[in-house]
Amino acid sequence: MPKREDIKKTYKLYIGGKFPRTESGRYIKWTNTKNTSTVNICRGSRKDFRNSVVAARSAFSGWSSSTAYNRSQILYRIGEMLEGRRSQFMDELVLQSSTKKTAEKEINQSIDRLIYYAGWADKYQQIFSRVNPVALPYFNFSYPEPTGVVSAVAPNGSSLIGLVSIVAPIIAGGNTVVVLVSEEKPLCSITFAEVLHTSDVPGGVVNILTGHRSELLEHFSSHMDVNAIVYCGSEPEEIKLVQENAALNVKRPIVYSDEDWLDKNAQDPYRILNTLETKTTWYPVGV
């Protein structure tokens, strides 16, 4: 039998439910540590980010007003799709220097985390809502609403689990997100976009970019139509930049440093709360 050449995948961006290449035409050569495989990753640009924010903003009204049951099912569906494509993620994680055992653990934890937040999508509202006993003739209640468009910088050190742990609580809360994935280990985050694409996640709800953190962090933190930024990392200079730029439009800066994302406890509903706003309504009793 003659040797068959395999088909290599082109790694692209995920913006507004489509898989474009970067508008900049730039690329980053990514090579695994054993030097046996090379991939050209899109070097996302400021313009790609801005396009993503436009996509996220236009998806926001639909996603935030979809029913909690619907959002819950879609998160569950992402978990289902991930389960079905284990082997692909396994290959990529191993290519990114994971052992088979840790790759297995990472995939399991990622799926379980999606199911965890799927379950929260129609429950956190009850945990974080109240009826307030005001001393006036009003029915007064407070409930959480999504803050809007969130930009997120996923942890650099982890590929799949970091991304899932960041994105799931943001979208469970009804926000839309533009996420910059790990520069070190970009492969399965892009494959994760394919999972999202087949999970009934409306286009624009999750937008995934690859590129240099050093180049894009400035734009992720300073964009005026972004309501919150989730930053994962522990570089003091980067944290300062994020927090400073957040002041431009009073963005909510959320920083996760030194998290062990593989840990079973790196999840809770307060992470959903981080990108929510509390709305209080006064409704008169009587005429």
Binding site: N227, K240, L241, A247, R252, T278, T280
Partner: protein, 480 residues
């Protein structure tokens, strides 16, 4: 004979009020003079007469206050049995109730707000706020399911001049209940009720250093924000200063809450009870001379009733009594300061220059003091500066609309998101609109209502974090 239907004067007496001529810093449970010996004047904005001298805290004084707060936090307050902590806060609430009249009169003299408001709204809410949070002190484990609430440490709190003592209560009560100690900096034009509060803190026997109160202007505030041993900043004030604070503490571990500016949409649908709505509009914009961050300063009236509403509004404005804040019949008191009066005048000029049509109440303004007549603008649109920017005065900008979608889009087309109002007889429409408005507090068929159990705070550039209610505990705890 010409009949005079105006009210006779009914001034609240001030003879039982004692204001110290010289007010020192309240640090570590004692009143002490400032390091540099500098004092500034606080005046009554209704007659420009000096009320007292107030100590100005500089960096060294701030440091002293932080040290006292740190020591009280480490040694006493964070270690105290929470139920005991609660008792102190209850005690403060009771003492304020007992001395409510005194506080109301001083609040009105120092800030210019009508006595009716300080007596019926500000001061009762102050004691209610302490009373509400006192009870949380030993119940925190029920507030945050799955987590343990730990205090943050030393909180620096900077408050504005529009509701001086009420803002002090909003800041101090939840901080103390959660086990933090505080340094409060009142606004430089309204320091006096906070100094009276210091007396009460002493009277309540709070351990020294748990609450420290220092006065001064922006420089003092800055020294507090930048002090390395402060763990949390709580600020109420302008969006511009809020942004400066965010920048200045970027890269530190300080937690913060910001309650910033607003430009609330007050939306009147054609099926609303029009007379009630007119009262609500008046309350929305002229309450406290419009010095309210959640004021309903953008009015949207459905086209079909616009003419009626505006004409009724003008009639009602004409009947508002502007004058001596100490008079019990007064509706609109004095503008808080010369600086604020200048700002209002500047915005009204801008409004006129941009083509807005102005209407003002014909009321006679007193000669001395800072005053501004109730004002409204018609013929303005979304791009006008008086529609987009916070004026913080008795100036209303009126626009009309046809459909629900249109008014929601217009209401949300602004960087602010603090509050909003909806007036209609249809419950379903109330929920549709209040859900769609991107703001933290929505009033249906009412406006400017407050309660300690009800969270308050903004979306977008109106700030972050909530004050009041269970949510109001969150900014003062670490969840572990």
């Amino acid at each position: 004979m010409k009949k005079d239907w105006s009210y006779s004067p009914a001034p609240e007496s001030t003879d039982h009020i004692h204001i110290a001529v010289k007010n020192d810093l309240f640090i570590n449970g004692k009143f002490i003079p400032p390091e540099k010996g500098k004092y500034f004047e606080t005046i009554n904005p209704a007659n420009e007469e000096k009320l007292a001298d107030v100590a100005e805290a500089d960096k060294a004084d701030v440091d002293k206050a932080v040290k006292a707060a740190r020591k009280a936090y480490e040694k006493v307050w964070s270690k105290m049995d929470p139920a005991e902590r609660g008792k102190y806060i209850y005690r403060i609430a009771r003492l304020i109730q007992e001395r409510a009249r005194e506080f109301s009169v001083i609040e009105t003299m120092d800030g210019g707000k009508p006595i009716r408001e300080s007596r019926d709204i500000d001061i009762p809410l102050v004691s209610a706020h302490f009373f509400y949070y006192a009870g949380w002190a030993d119940k925190l484990e029920y507030a945050f399911p799955g987590k343990k609430a730990k205090p943050i440490g030393v909180a620096g709190q900077i408050i504005p001049w529009n509701f001086p003592l009420l803002m002090a209560a909003w800041k101090i009560a939840p901080a103390l209940a959660t086990g933090n100690t505080v340094i409060l900096k009142p606004a430089e034009t309204t320091p006096l009720t906070a100094m009276k509060l210091a007396e009460i803190i002493q009277e309540a026997d709070l351990p020294p250093g748990v609450v420290n109160i220092i006065n001064g202007d922006g420089k003092t505030g800055r020294a507090l924000v930048e002090h390395p041993d402060v763990n949390k900043i709580a600020f109420t004030g302008s969006t511009d200063v809020g942004k400066l604070i965010m920048k200045s503490i970027a890269g530190t571990d300080k937690k913060y809450t910001l309650e910033l500016g607003g430009k609330a949409a007050n939306i009147i649908f054609e099926d609303a009870a029009i007379d009630q709505a007119v009262e609500g509009i008046i309350d929305g914009i002229f309450f406290n001379q419009g010095h309210v961050c959640c004021a309903g300063s953008r009015l949207f009236v459905q086209e079909s009733v616009a003419e009626t509403v505006v004409s009724k509004l003008k009639d009602r404005m004409e009947s508002l009594i502007v004058g001596n804040p100490l008079d019990k019949n007064t509706d609109i008191g004095a503008i808080n300061s010369k600086m604020q009066l200048d700002k209002i005048k500047m915005y009204v000029d801008i409004g006129k220059n941009e083509g807005g049509s102005i209407h003002q109440s014909s009321c006679k303004l007193p000669e001395k003091g800072y005053w501004y007549a109730p004002t409204l603008f018609t013929d303005v649109s979304q791009s006008h500066r008086i529609v987009q920017e916070e004026i913080f005065g008795p100036v209303l900008a009126i626009q009309t609309f046809r459909t629900v979608d249109e008014v929601i889009t217009k209401a949300n087309n602004i960087p602010y998101g603090l509050s909003g109002g909806v007036w209609t007889d249809k419950g379903a429409k109330i929920f549709q609109v209040s859900k769609a408005i991107r703001a933290g507090v929505l009033w249906a068929n009412t406006f400017n209502k407050f309660d300690p159990t009800s969270p308050f705070g903004g979306y977008k550039e109106s700030g972050m974090g909530r004050e009041g209610g269970l949510e109001g505990l969150m900014p003062y705890v670490h969840l572990v």
